[in-house]
């Protein structure tokens, strides 16, 4: 405990950062490095150097299709989540403290509910004899039960339950800081509610949306349990492919290629959202 460090606030105290830093080096950075090396290996003992796994992955239209499907799933989930998250956030902002507490509780509950439980519930809701089909049939909105399991729509609906909190928490945080008198002014000047939403609320809440969209995209593209259980055998995404190749086929170099691809794809998506944020700030 040297006295010189007492009032020191300018630099990183490396001695305090070291324990977590070294843990991350040993159990985070090193495994990811091995993953990268594995993708260029001939066998699962890191023997030889070969581009064979990469060539096989990117040379096959099926695997390229899996990459595209995974990215699209992420983007569609972001879009659908946005559609419902904004109205909930608006309702939250307009509510009193008591209702706000209740709403936050509803928003947090899925985050704290096991992923297996959530998926299990959606099977009960989306299956042919499920709750949703019973309701639609009873209301006469459909004559034959809809098939929602093993479809992208069903998967996105199920994913929305866990992704919406990830979007809502940053969105609510930012919208709370927006001065309500701005919306009032827009309304007083004759702006319709739609116009006020588009011209005032949407631009000012953009940083929150971008933070949320980043988390939603990263989470939806890697949601293994939902993808395998709701998507079934018909829909294959990168996480399912990785698991099959690593644990069923035991082709580790190929599984490593799929994993590195997933890592790069998610990072690319995340950077895209970050760039969007910077672009929005400079043009705002």
């Amino acid at each position: 405990m040297s006295g010189a460090a007492t009032g020191e606030t300018a630099g990183v105290e490396w001695r305090l950062a070291a324990p977590l830093g070294l843990t991350y080096l040993a159990f985070f950075a090193a495994p990811l490095l091995i993953l990268l090396v594995m993708s260029f290996s001939v066998d699962d003992n890191l023997g030889g150097f070969s581009l064979a796994a990469w060539a096989k992955f990117w040379g096959d239209p099926f695997y390229r299709g899996v990459v595209w499907d995974t990215l699209r799933l992420g983007l569609v989930t972001v879009a659908m989540t946005t559609l419902f998250a904004y109205p909930i956030a608006l309702l939250f902002i307009a509510s009193g403290p008591g209702l706000q507490r209740l709403l936050l509780f509803i928003v947090l509950l899925p985050l704290l509910t096991s992923v297996v439980i959530r998926t299990f519930a959606w099977i009960a809701i989306l299956s042919r004899e499920g709750v949703l089909n019973q309701a639609l049939l009873a209301l006469g909105l459909t004559t034959a039960p809809l098939n929602l399991l093993q479809t992208e729509l069903g998967l996105v609906i199920a994913l929305m339950q866990i992704e919406m909190p990830l979007m809502l928490l940053p969105l609510i945080t930012v919208m709370r800081q927006v001065d309500p008198s701005l919306s009032d002014a827009s309304r007083a000047l004759g702006g319709s509610k739609w116009r006020t939403f588009r011209k005032v609320i949407l631009p000012l809440s953009l940083p929150g949306w971008i933070a949320g969209a980043t988390l939603v995209f990263a989470s939806a593209t890697t949601a293994f349990i939902s993808q395998t259980v709701i998507g079934g055998a018909r829909l294959v995404y990168l996480p399912t492919l990785i698991w099959q190749q690593a644990m069923v086929v035991y082709n580790w170099p190929f599984a490593a290629v799929a994993s590195v691809t997933l890592l790069v794809a998610v990072l690319a998506g995340v950077s895209l959202f970050a760039m969007l944020g910077r672009f929005a700030r400079t043009t705002a």
Partner: protein, 274 residues
């Protein structure tokens, strides 16, 4: 409120936004309610609404013979989650103290690095740990699972602790130091009491994340070191085992109680929306 025009367009806006909000809230809460009600079904198949109510699936779940594998998986998960959360809390709190009020690029890079497991695809990391440990010649064990879980859950504690440190007035440190208090004493008497709720809130989220972790446990657990979510996933994939609903019901009630307790202690809901 100033005079506002309430045109049909405006009424349309309220109708559309209100409807979407109600559907959205339904998506969040209805599945949880359905699982809770289904867990009390008297039927052998998962059907909603249940034809009758009984506690048979909770009894089956508690049966030490029939549900032995579930019990082993639960105790494994609890041990890993408790150990990983305790270790991650120490490491993440130290790291947050190291980066507190430092705005240099090196500090921001380190902060991004410590938070990166939140964004990086967990499944790629899970596979990476399997390859890494197998090349090092380690056999699957609960200790390896703890190491993998620490990486995944430390960011939760790091983030809430860092946030609570920003509320700490640096003048408190200076006055404590100028009164002759050592750094450790200042930490124990000034810093820790102020940031403790932040650490606790993060630790709660970390514990839940560890209990529910799939990507790392999927690759690092085996028949002997089975983890609860993996076990439940297996039960759900093969047969739509209604015990999963009972397990879900029990877990939901535990989480609800924990949530209310944590909210009292650490203002969890406010912390997560700030």
């Amino acid at each position: 409120m100033t005079r506002q025009l309430n045109t049909p367009m405006d009424r349309g806006y309220s109708l559309v936004m209100g409807t979407l909000a109600v559907i959205g809230l339904g998506i969040l809460i209805v599945p949880v309610i359905i699982v809770l009600l289904s867990s009390f079904t008297s039927s052998t198949v998962l059907k909603f609404p249940p034809p009758g109510f009984s506690l048979r699936w909770y009894e089956a779940l508690l049966d030490p013979v029939r549900s032995r594998h579930v019990h082993v998986a639960l105790s494994n998960s609890l041990w890993v989650a408790l150990s990983a959360t305790a270790l991650a809390a120490i490491l993440a709190t130290l790291a947050a103290l190291a980066l507190n009020r430092v705005s240099r690029p090196s500090a921001r890079a380190l902060e991004a690095g410590f938070l990166s497991p939140l964004i990086l695809p967990g499944l790629a990391f899970g596979l990476a740990t399997l390859m890494y440990f197998s090349i090092l010649g380690f056999r699957p064990s609960l200790n390896l699972l703890i190491a993998g879980h620490i990486v995944v859950i430390a960011p939760f504690i790091f983030r809430t602790t860092l946030a609570s440190l920003t509320q700490l007035d640096p003048a408190l440190h200076e006055s404590s130091a100028s009164l002759g208090a050592g750094r450790l004493y200042t930490f124990r008497r000034i810093t820790l009491p102020i940031i403790a709720p932040g650490i606790a809130a993060g630790a709660f989220l970390a514990f839940v994340a560890s209990m529910d972790n799939v990507p790392v446990s999927l690759f690092l657990s085996n028949a002997r070191t089975n983890m609860l979510p993996i076990r439940m996933w297996g039960m759900m994939e093969t047969t739509l085992d209604v015990r999963v609903a009972a397990m879900s019901g029990a877990l939901i009630v535990v989480v609800l109680v924990l949530m209310i307790v944590m909210d009292r202690l650490t203002n969890l809901t406010r912390r997560m929306s700030m």
